[in-house]
Symmetry: C2
Subunit: 398 residues, 2 copies
C-alpha cells in the first residue's frame, strides 16, 4: 500500500501475516476495539496458541463532541518514536513496538489486553502498589536521558528537531493553557458551577500565572515529554505499568508530565467523596492516592539523582547545588501544570470520567468547584508550595 | 560551481558579474579584506561609478590562537537567514543580502565600508548618538516578531526548527557558559590576575548561577537571537547602525542579545580608565556609555510594549501584567548573560581589545579584575538588580 488508507479487519490481518507475526495458515480472530474517534485499533489473536498483537492506525481526523477536524497522521510517528526512545531506558514500562509504517500511520505493538486503563481502576478504588515506583522511574529515566545533563548537545538538538510537534502541541496550548481561562466556546461545564467559573475568568492573577506556564510550555525544551500523561494514558495491573498514547510527545518543561499525572490523581481523590460511600474505605483509598503522589515524586527524585551522579555528562552536574536547583524548578513547574490540568479537565473540552460520572449533581458540582479552587491554588501558589507535603495539604483531609 | 571551493579574487569577480551586479565590461577593483580566520571577505568596487559590493564566504574551518578546527559551512545559511528575517522588520539596521549560495556558503551583501566597527569606535571614545535607539529597536523588533506573542505557533515552531544551530551554539555553550568558570585549557589570562581567577573558580554560588544561565541558553527558545551581539558585530556611523555577523543566530532566551551588548559597553567603560587620560573627558564618555545602556533598554521596552499592544496575537497579551512579567524575565536574564559575557571576554578564549589593548599592565590587570568582579555580581545578584539604574550603580562611578 503506497498511500494512506484506513485498514479494515481484513487488511489488518493481511498486514500482520505479511509482516510474519503469524503463520499464513493461522486461525486469526480480529476485532476493531478503538473508540473510532482518533485511531483504529485492531486486536488480532491466534486462536490456537493465544498469541496476540495490536495494530493501531491513526485516522486523519479527530472527532470530539460531535465535531470533526483534520489531524496530522504524523502523530503516529511521534507516538512510535517516543515509545522507542523510552524503551531504551524503561523497556518494561511501555508497550513493545514491533513495526512502524509512516505512510499508513500504523504501529504494530504489544497487546496489553491483560491490563486495565488506570483511570478506570482508580475510579473503582483499586490499589496499584507499584504505580508510584513505575511512574517515578519512567519520568526520571526519560527526562534524564533526553536532557542536556546527559546527551551531547548535538544529539539533544537533533532530537528536539525530530520531536517538534506543532499540531499536537497546539491542542495542549489551546485546551490546557488557554481556553479554560477565558469564556471560550470549547469550554464545557454545567450551569450549576457557572458562578464559580465566571469568578475564575475574572481572576487576573490566575491568568497572569497561567500565561507564564503556557509560555514555559511553548519555549522550554528541557527534556522529551510524553505530553499527555493522565491516568487514561496508563495501562496497569497490580504488578505492571505501561505508558501508552504518546502522540503528544515533544521537548518541553520537565515538570509537565508529573504535573498532569498528579492532577489526575487529585481529581480522582476529589471524586471519591462521591464514589466510595463508606467513610473508612474512602479515607483509605484517598490515603493511597496521596501516597502515590508522594512516592512518585520520591522515586523520581531518587532515580534522577542517581542518574545525575552516575551518568551526568554536563560538567555543571559536578557543581554542588545544581541538581537541587533543577529539581526545585521541576517541582514548582509540576505544581503549576497540575493546576492547569485540574482546571481544564473540569471545565475545558476534555473531561475526566472521575468527576463526570458522579450521578448526584450536588456532589458533582461540589467536587468540580473544589477541583477549580485547588487548581487555582496550585497555579498561583506554586512557588510557595515547596514540598510534596505542602502540596498534599492543599487537598488532603486526614 | 557544483561543489564548495574557496573563492579567489578572480572567481569572486566572475561570480558577481555572472550575478549581474556589474556589467561585463566594468573595471572592477577587488580586495580580500577578511581576517582569514573564519571567512573570506571580498570587497569589489566599480572604479567608474563607485558602486561596491561585499562577497562573504565561510571557510570550512576556524583558526583561533593558532589552532584550526573544522566548522560547519552551514553557518552561512544561519547568517543569511537571520539577516533576511531581521530585514522584514528592521531593514535599515542590517546589511542588505543580495544573494545567498548554500553550496558555496556565500553571501553577496551590501558594502558597509563607510561604517566603522563599534568596538573600534568605542575604544577611541567616539560618541554614536543613535546607537541606543537603533539597538533597542533592533532587539525589540526581532524579538517580538519571532516570539509566540506574535507568530502563529506553527510558524514559530517551523522557524525554531530552521534555526537549530548546534555547532555555533556549542561554541557559546563552551566558551561563554562553561570554560571560563573552570580551570580549562581554552582560558587565557595573564599571571598577574591568576589569584582573582582562582578565587572565581572556587565560587560555588557563582557556578551554580552560571549553570542556570547555561541551562536557559540550552533550553529556552523564546525568540530568534543574533547570538553574538557584541560591539564587534555592529557597524556604525554617527547616523547609521548595522548589525552584522549573525551566524550564531538561533532561538534562545530573549535577554541574551541585550546582555552581551550591555557587557561589551561595560567592558569598554572599565577600559576607559586607561584609554582616556583626561578625567573630565573620560567621565563624559563613560556617562555616554551609561546613557547608551539606559536608553537601549528604554527603547527596547518602549517598542516592545507598542508592538505587544498593537500586534500581539497571543490572547494572554491582553491580560494586564503579562507584558511586565515577560519584560522582567528578559531584564533579569540580560543582567545574568551580561555577567557571563564580561567574565568570558576577560579570561576566556576570545578577548576584547578594549581590555587587552591597555599597555600599562597594572592598569590592565586592575581593569580585568574589576570586570571579573562586576561580571560575578551581575550573575549572582541578577534577581535583586531590578532596574537599569541598579545595574548601572554596580559599575558607574559618578
Amino acid at each position: 500500500m503506497a498511500q494512506y488508507q484506513p485498514l479494515t479487519e481484513e487488511t489488518a490481518v493481511q498486514l500482520v501475516i505479511k509482516l510474519q507475526y503469524f503463520r499464513e495458515d493461522a486461525t486469526l480472530k480480529v476485532k476493531e476495539i478503538g473508540d473510532g474517534n482518533l485511531n483504529l485499533v485492531f486486536h488480532i489473536v491466534d486462536e490456537e496458541n493465544g498469541k496476540s498483537i495490536i495494530v493501531k492506525q491513526a485516522l486523519p481526523y479527530a472527532k470530539v463532541v460531535g465535531e470533526s477536524w483534520p489531524l496530522t497522521l504524523e502523530r503516529a510517528r511521534f507516538e512510535s518514536s517516543f515509545l522507542q526512545k523510552a524503551a531504551e531506558y524503561v523497556p518494561d514500562l511501555v508497550p513493545k513496538v514491533f513495526h512502524f509504517d509512516e505512510t499508513l500511520a500504523i504501529i504494530v505493538m504489544e497487546d496489553l489486553s491483560s491490563h486495565t486503563i488506570l483511570r478506570k481502576g482508580t475510579i473503582e478504588g483499586i490499589i496499584y502498589p507499584k504505580l508510584a515506583e513505575h511512574i517515578g522511574t519512567f519520568v526520571a529515566q526519560v527526562t534524564f536521558h533526553t536532557s542536556d545533563f546527559y546527551l551531547h548537545p548535538f544529539e539533544k538538538k537533533q532530537l528536539v528537531k525530530e520531536f517538534i510537534n506543532p499540531e499536537l502541541c497546539k491542542i495542549t496550548e489551546d485546551l490546557v493553557f488557554t481556553d479554560p481561562f477565558f469564556d471560550h466556546e470549547t469550554n464545557d461545564f454545567p450551569d450549576g458551577i457557572r458562578d464559580t467559573v465566571e469568578q475564575l475568568w475574572q481572576d487576573q492573577e490566575l491568568k497572569r500565572e497561567a500565561a507564564k506556564l503556557k509560555f514555559q510550555f511553548l519555549t522550554q525544551a528541557e527534556a522529551l515529554l510524553h505530553g499527555d500523561l493522565h491516568t487514561g494514558s496508563i495501562f496497569v495491573t497490580k504488578e505492571s505499568t505501561k505508558v501508552i498514547d504518546s502522540e503528544f510527545a515533544y521537548f518541553g518543561p520537565a515538570g509537565f508530565d508529573l504535573g498532569q499525572f498528579f492532577a489526575n490523581l487529585v481529581l480522582n481523590y476529589i471524586s471519591q467523596e462521591a464514589h466510595i460511600e463508606e467513610l473508612e474505605k474512602r479515607k483509605q483509598y484517598q490515603a493511597y492516592l496521596v501516597d502515590t503522589i508522594r512516592e512518585t515524586w520520591s522515586h523520581f527524585t531518587k532515580q534522577f539523582t542517581e542518574l545525575w551522579h552516575s551518568k551526568g555528562n554536563e560538567v555543571y552536574t559536578k557543581v554542588p547545588g545544581t541538581l537541587e536547583s533543577f529539581l526545585n524548578k521541576v517541582w514548582t513547574d509540576a505544581v503549576g501544570f497540575a493546576g492547569c490540568e485540574a482546571i481544564r479537565r473540569t471545565i475545558g473540552l476534555a473531561h475526566v470520567a472521575d468527576l463526570d460520572s458522579i450521578q448526584d449533581l450536588d456532589k458533582q458540582y461540589a467536587a468540580k468547584k473544589k477541583a477549580l479552587a485547588i487548581g487555582a491554588e496550585f497555579i498561583k501558589k506554586r512557588k510557595q508550595i515547596q514540598s510534596v507535603e505542602q502540596f498534599i495539604e492543599l487537598f488532603h483531609v486526614k
